[in-house]
Structures are given as structure tokens and as C-alpha cells.
């Protein structure tokens, strides 16, 4: 399988803060890849760089061999590269179904489709995906009234509604009741296997990422310090040191 995402020597500084320094990584098409590292190590910054939230200082980011580092956020999303947010983002005053309906890719997308009708078929698809994440019964509630964990699930369902090729998930289990975490892991595996979506997952919980990812990259202090299979990463002294806070 070829690479779907290639990050090549990417630098991102915030003033004096070296959030990302010389990061290179490749994500294989169809894989589940992990991105780990202590708090503040630059994981979210790298996601932001990939999807175009901010311009990078140096380097190249290619999605399906197309340079995307200079594209604005919506343009990257339209290519099929979507992200979810660490601080979950949903449309709080809209109900779940509407959150889903507005997340689908429109069949036409130009100035004249601004006032286009939203096809009815989307309702079925929305309901199907909401039941996939276990929110079917809540579909008519305002998204803002859901619990934090349910909002995370809704955000996942919204991403699926868009039929992306690749999903960047920023800490999908953070702040979620531990009893629900296995449910999320199972769903992510299904998303990958059945929907065929490549996943790049930021995860703080080592147990989760070990059971999910086939390949893991580890950041510390803005730099890539290790990458390899989960078993290798688990034993890697630099990773252990980074997580224990040793320089």
C-alpha cells in the first residue's frame, strides 16, 4: 500500500516556541496510525498544519501526492482529509440530525448551490450513522445538550457523514468514561476496516493506542523522537523517558 499522507521536514514556530521542528512522517493508505507524545509536544499543532489552520514555516505536506500546505481549511477538507477537534466541536443549537445533514458533502458546491435543497436521502444516512455511534435515540435533541462523550461520538459520526478518505482524530477518548472507551476503539476499527478510511489518531492513553494502531509516531518537545510498531514503541527508551518527563 502506498502513502496517503506525506509530511516532510515541517517546521512550525509560535514566536519562540518551537511547536514542530523538522517533522517527517508517512501515513500508509488504509492504515490506523498513532501519534503520541506528552502534553504540549506539538501533536495538535501538527494536525493544524496538515489541515491548513495555520501556514507552516517550512517543509511540505502532501495528501495523495498533492501539496496541501498552502491550501485553506475548507479546500483541504474537500479533498477528503478531515479532522476532529481535541476540544470537541459540534453545532450546539442544532439537533443531531441537522448536525449530520450539514456535514454531508454537497453534490454541487458553487455559488448557485447556496440555496440548494438538502436531499431527503441524507436523513436515512444520518440516522444510520447516528445509530452506528449509538446516538439514534438522541437524534432530535440539540447537540449542545448531549454529554461530552456523546458529543465526541457525534463529531465522529459527522466526520463519517462527509465520507472522507482520511480522518485525523485528536484524542478521541480524552475525557470519556473509561467504560465507554472500548466501544470507541471498536468503532474506530470498524471505521477503518468497513468504511475504508485511513486514520491518524492522536492518543494520550497508551493502552488505547497500542490496541488500535499498526504504526506509531512519538513527539516530544516538538520533535519526532521515535516511530515504529506498537511493540517497538512500548520498549523504546526515548519514549519511556519522554513520558516519565526525563530529558
Amino acid at each position: 500500500m502506498g502513502a496517503i499522507l506525506q509530511v516532510d521536514q515541517v517546521y512550525k514556530y509560535f514566536g519562540g516556541v518551537k511547536a514542530n521542528e523538522n517533522i517527517s512522517m508517512t501515513v500508509t493508505q488504509g492504515s490506523i496510525t498513532g501519534l503520541i507524545g506528552p502534553n504540549g509536544s506539538g501533536k495538535t499543532t501538527l494536525f493544524n498544519s496538515i489541515v491548513g489552520t495555520h501556514p507552516i514555516d517550512k517543509g511540505s505536506i502532501k495528501f495523495e501526492d498533492k501539496e496541501v500546505s498552502a491550501l485553506p481549511v475548507p479546500a483541504v477538507a474537500k479533498l477528503g482529509l478531515l479532522r476532529t477537534f481535541q476540544q470537541t466541536r459540534i453545532y450546539g443549537k442544532l439537533n443531531c440530525i441537522d448536525n449530520m445533514r450539514i456535514s454531508a458533502k454537497p453534490s454541487r458546491d458553487n455559488l448557485f448551490s447556496v440555496f440548494s435543497a438538502i436531499p431527503n436521502e441524507l436523513n436515512d444516512k444520518a440516522e444510520h450513522l447516528l445509530s452506528f455511534v449509538g446516538l439514534y435515540q438522541k437524534r432530535k435533541l440539540r447537540a449542545g445538550d448531549l454529554s461530552f462523550g456523546q458529543q465526541k461520538l457525534l463529531e465522529l459520526a459527522m466526520a463519517l457523514m462527509n465520507e472522507p478518505k482520511m480522518l485525523l482524530l485528536d484524542e478521541p477518548t480524552a475525557g470519556i468514561n473509561p467504560t465507554l472507551i472500548n466501544g470507541i476503539i471498536n468503532r474506530l476499527i470498524k471505521v477503518n476496516e468497513e468504511f475504508g478510511i485511513t486514520l491518524l489518531v492522536i492518543e494520550h492513553n497508551m493502552r488505547v493506542i497500542m490496541s488500535l494502531a499498526q504504526h506509531i509516531f512519538c513527539l516530544a518537545h516538538g520533535q519526532l523522537i521515535a516511530n515504529g510498531k506498537p511493540e517497538q514503541i512500548k520498549k523504546d527508551q526515548r519514549v519511556i523517558d519522554a513520558y516519565l518527563g526525563v530529558q
Binding site: 478531515l82 459540534i90 453545532y91 450539514i102 455559488l111 440555496f115 438538502i118 445509530s131
Partner: protein
Amino acid sequence: MNQKAILYLALLAFGIAVPFMFPAYKLQISIMWILVVLSLTWDVQGGQMGYNTFGNIMFFGLGMYICSSFQIGIFFPLAEWTASGGEKTFIHTPTQFFQGFFIGIIFAGIIPALVAAIIGYGILGLRGHYFAICTLGLAIAAGELAGGIELVGAGQGMTSPPWPKNIGDTELRSEFFYYICFVLMISTFLFLRWAYTTRFGLVLNAIRDNEDKAEAMGINTMRYKISGWVVSAFFVGIAGGLMGNMIGYIEPVETAFAGRTFGVFMVVMAILGGKGTLWGPVIGAIAFHIFKEGFWTFFLGWQYVALGALIVIVVIFFPEGIMGWLREKYPDRFGEVIDEEDRKAQVELK
């Protein structure tokens, strides 16, 4: 569904019958319909999209000036009209009057819409308070600017073409404008009612709730924000054109770019009725107009204090407006229900 149809028909019948039922209040109720238009269109930005704007009054003034300028300018030299106070030297024949009015109203919609597209492209990238303050500045500047243009009478203002004397009395005049106002209000309402069912409506709400998320999901938000402002400017511009004709006299800061009155009213009405709902701005405008007309005279000299107090009361006690308060009270009436029976597709989270 049937209940709704009856409601709509009753309102329509009421609107049509007003000139016969309350002949003395024709002008007042015409202005009420204009207020509904201002409130509904303000809500496109302020409510549905979550962008507070103080700039929509710009389009009102622009429409007012443009309408009258066309009405006059296509038949007579505009500069001489404004210099001489108009009607003394030039008189529209009935045909000229109605042709001019028709053309004026069309441009009163189109030109503000174009202006909204251009300005919107420049400033709709601003978020939150920055956008609000920027629109406030633009609205004030627009009034000053109009006050400096000799062609439209500068600070003195200008008259709009008077009703042709030979085709009927002032009763006919106010009936004519009444129905045009009513049709404008219905058109605005129906257009928005439809637009909110399309992608447009959902995207505006998505922008309101989380614009970064909308962009991250691939939505070109700028396109929708500009479209929304163009729609508002179009209807507000026409409302301005009508208002100028009804008052008969256009003054740059008091009637046209009237930020202190209509500019504030449109915000208050939408909030009073319930931001971000279809009916809220309608109910808010009607309630506000009745309050204003009913009580204005009791507050001689204190009207603006009373208005200020009303704003404070609404913002503190009914931040979500009348509709929001109803929704809070009867959520199920607004379709917010947990589906208990329909478990067929439910997959339990294990």
C-alpha cells in the same frame, strides 16, 4: 399542518383588510410591516448566523436615496430638483410617477445588494465584536457621506416625488403604499422561510454555532456569509426606498441612515421576539411597534429612556426572546424529544 395553513390565511386576510378595518392606522401599520422586514433581515446575520451587525441600516439609507434619485433622475435633472426643493418646479405625470417608482424600487434592492457583496467580501472575514464594531463605523460613515453629497441635497436632504394629484387623494396614496409594504413583508418572510430550509439556512446556523468547525468540514463559509448579507441588503434597500416615499422627505441621518432609531430598533425587535427563529423577529417587530406607538406618548421627552429600559429588561430577563422563552417552556412543541419507542436501529454502546 392544517392548523398552520389556517393561521397563515388568517394573517393574510388581516393584512389585506387593514386599510378597511383601521383606515386611520394605515401609515402606522405600513411602518410596522417595514419594521418586520428590518427585523427579519437583521436576524439573518444577528440571529441565524450569529454575527451582530449594526450596519444593515446602511442599506436602508442607500435604498432610500437610490429609489428617489432614480424616480426623479430618469425624468428630470436631479441636481435642480434637490436645489429647488423639487415639486415646485417639476411635476411627475401619473405614468412617470409609477414608472419611476417601479424602476426606483428595483434599483433600491439591487444596488445595496451589490454594495453588501463588495463590503461583505472585505469585512465578513472579521469575527465577533470586530465585525460588529466595523459595521457600526460604516453605518455612521455612510450617514456623514450622504450628508456631503450635493446632488442629493447634502445635509439638507431631498424630497421624494409627491403623489400625482390628479389620480386620487391621500387616502389612495396611503393604501397604495400600504399594500406595497405588505407585499414586501410577505415576500421577505416567504423567501427567508424557504431559504432557511435549504443548505443556506443550515450553514448559517453552523457558522453561528461553530464557524471553525464548519470550515473544517469543508464549508466555504465566506460564500454563505456574503449571500446572507446580499439577501438582507436587497430587502432592506427596498424597505428604505418605500419608506422614503411614504415620508416624502429624506434626511441623511434622521430618516435614511437612521442608526439611532431604525438601526437600533431592528436589533431590539429581533432579540425581543427571539433571535435565530423565523417567527421571533416578526413577533418582536409587532410587539415592539405596538409598545412604541402605544406608550411613546406617555414618555414625553423620555422616549429614549423608556427604549433603553426596554432593551435592558429584554436582555436580562428574556435573552432568548419570546420564542426562546416558549421553546424553553415547551421543548417538545419544538421537536426536541428523546425517542424512546423507536429503538429499531439502536446499537448499544458496549
